[in-house]
């Protein structure tokens, strides 16, 4: 996967002189090709990650298409507020590459490990989140992020896992990695990133369908459909339970109609968008359907709805 990443950077630099890669003194050999061929489009900004995100935002403001590289422990974790304000609020088309996500830096210890990056980014408006499992998924995620008019985060986990797909894939929709050979259709394995190859291998052994999920946000509706058409699903990811792919699916599932026709668990809260205007606290709440009148309407509807009426 790292060779593919290196190649994608070189191709982007060749195709677009507005493409520029910023690194916070990380990456070493990953950038050999880029530096050799397009050295001026690589900038080591030093060990100063917060400034790096601001610089990327400023570059985007004058027409560049920056790609910011860091270890996931630092990009996005260390610079979360810069991502929220400088990139997400400005809808800056910046690609964030979080390398070594999960426990890749096992020997270096906790400072370089990262099992919470997806959880930290998911609530932020405007950002897309990808977790490719191999070079083909990386290629598809990269192509989508390059076309986007908003920030994207690509989570790069353990890069030397076996390649899962046989050939390039068309998009970042969930990909079946075991379906044809599956005979046990009661159960479904959903996997992301570094956990996909092992999950697929085991799924094949047991004849269980397996779905790889390269794009975590926005969560693909087809993933929900697949989960709902199986009696049991397990999510496998190198990420904490809170806030990762499991959490994203659990939230969607809780909101969807249960077998009884009523959601078991419903949510009334902030919309996931930034507030867009000034005004009183009640006014700000109204942008999210949380002002007293709206809460009254929603709760009353929830309390009085007959089974099957409310989603």
């Amino acid at each position: 996967m790292r060779d593919m990443l290196s190649q994608l950077l070189v191709e982007a630099a060749a195709a677009d002189d507005r493409f520029i890669v910023l690194s916070g003194d990380h990456g070493y050999a990953l950038f050999d090709g880029l530096r050799a061929g397009y050295g001026s489009q690589f900038v080591n900004v030093g060990v100063a990650e917060q400034n790096m995100i601001g610089v990327a935002a400023g570059l985007a403001k004058v027409g560049f298409r920056p790609c910011v590289y860091g270890l996931a422990a630092f990009v996005p974790i260390r610079v979360l507020e810069q991502i929220k304000l400088d990139l997400c609020h400005a809808k800056a088309p910046v690609i964030l590459l979080g390398d070594g996500a999960g426990l890749v830096y096992s020997t270096l210890g906790v400072s370089h490990q990262c099992g919470e990056d997806v959880a930290c980014l998911r609530p932020l408006p405007a950002i897309a989140i990808y977790s490719p499992c191999d070079k083909f998924e990386l290629q598809a995620c990269w192509a989508e992020a390059r076309r986007a008019d908003h920030p994207s985060y690509i989570r790069i986990g353990k890069a030397d896992r076996p390649t899962v797909h046989d050939a390039a894939i068309a998009d970042t929709e969930p990909q079946w990695t075991n379906r044809r050979d599956a005979h046990n259709h009661e159960r479904l394995i959903v996997a992301a990133g570094s956990m996909t190859s092992i999950s697929t291998a085991i799924a094949r052994t047991h004849g269980v369908p397996c779905l790889s999920v390269p794009r975590i946000k926005p969560l693909p509706p087809s993933l929900m459909a697949a989960v709902q058409s199986h009696r049991q699903t397990i999510v496998v990811e190198e990420h904490a339970r809170a806030g990762g792919l499991f959490s994203a699916l659990a939230e969607e599932l809780a909101s969807a109609e249960s077998l009884s026709g009523r959601p078991h668990l419903a949510h009334l809260g902030l919309s996931g968008q930034f507030t867009s205007t000034a005004g009183s606290h009640e006014h700000a709440l109204s942008e999210h359907g949380l002002d007293d009148a709206a809460v009254n309407r929603s709760l009353t509807a929830w309390i009085t709805a007959r089974p099957g009426q409310m989603s």
Binding site: Q50, G58, E81, S276, T277, S280, H283
Partner: protein, 272 residues
């Protein structure tokens, strides 16, 4: 583009700007009056003599950039926008009304505001990125960034200074609104910053220092910095929080206090 105003007489008179600020603060019952007052002359000089902008279009593609990193002074920007015509008196009177667009800190979606700041330490890194990008493009547009002395507590500010100096961003001018106060007390008592000009020098900036309420001194220093070859510029503007209204000057309560009708008319009287 040369600096211009679409209305004859819109000269960014500091007294007018302070009246606009008071008008907004009173109608919106906003805090941060003193934070805006300390950078009025800085904004006045920049808009009247240095910034190239299109009075008909706050986001014209060949404008110079003014980045207010110290978002707490945003009412001074709004006051300039009112002088230019990007905002109207009705906008000022509607400050903080439900559904309006002017917030109490700088937000990127207000044309002219450029960045979301107020969480401190964000504007300067973005300004640095803009300057870096413009330099790469070979475009002669300048970036001015107003920061607070209290804001210099923030780590990313110093990261940015290192980067700007290392990259020799001569198209960047940092102006410190050094009003000697931050939210909870005297800047020197909270987290000592001085000697600030020497620190900028040591970081590789061409540095000037002046009375931040003296338009001639500000203009002279800014001109000198522009003439300075290859280094980014820094101007430490020595200001007074609340400057312009006697009972607000150097009184940190006006970081937080809302205007009563009585104080509003007293303040206006001093500015008439």
């Amino acid at each position: 583009m040369t600096p211009q105003c679409h209305r004859p007489g819109a000269v960014f008179d500091p007294k007018d700007l302070r009246r606009h600020i008071l008008r907004m603060a009173f109608h919106g019952q906003s805090v941060h009056v003193a934070c805006a007052f300390s950078l009025v002359e800085i904004c006045s000089v920049l808009y009247s003599q240095f910034l190239r902008f299109d009075p008909m279009n706050a986001v014209s593609p060949d404008r110079d950039f003014l980045i207010l990193s110290k978002g707490h002074g945003v009412m001074a920007l709004y006051a300039c926008f009112r002088e230019i015509g990007w905002l109207t008196d009705s906008d000022l009177d509607a400050y903080f009304r439900n559904g309006t667009h002017l917030r109490g800190l700088c937000e990127a979606d207000v044309p002219g505001c450029e960045v979301t700041s107020g969480s401190l330490g964000h504007g300067l890194p973005i300004a640095t990125g803009i300057a870096f990008g413009l330099r790469r493009l070979g475009i002669d547009r300048r970036v001015y960034c107003i920061v607070g002395d209290g804001e210099m507590n923030e780590g990313p500010m110093w990261e940015s200074l290192l980067f700007a100096a290392h990259q020799k961003l001569a198209n960047l001018t940092v102006i410190v609104d050094a009003n000697r106060y931050q939210a909870m007390g005297r800047t020197e008592e909270v987290l000592g910053l001085e000697p600030l000009p020497a620190k900028f020098e040591a970081f590789g900036f061409a540095t000037k220092e002046c009375d931040g309420h003296d338009p001639k001194a500000l203009a002279r220093c800014l001109s000198d910095l522009l003439a300075n070859g290859s280094r980014p510029g820094a101007l430490v503007a020595r200001t007074t929080k609340g400057h312009g209204v006697s009972f607000m000057e150097d009184d940190n309560r006006w970081h937080y206090t809302r205007l009563t009708e009585h104080d509003y008319s007293r303040a206006l009287k001093e500015l008439s």
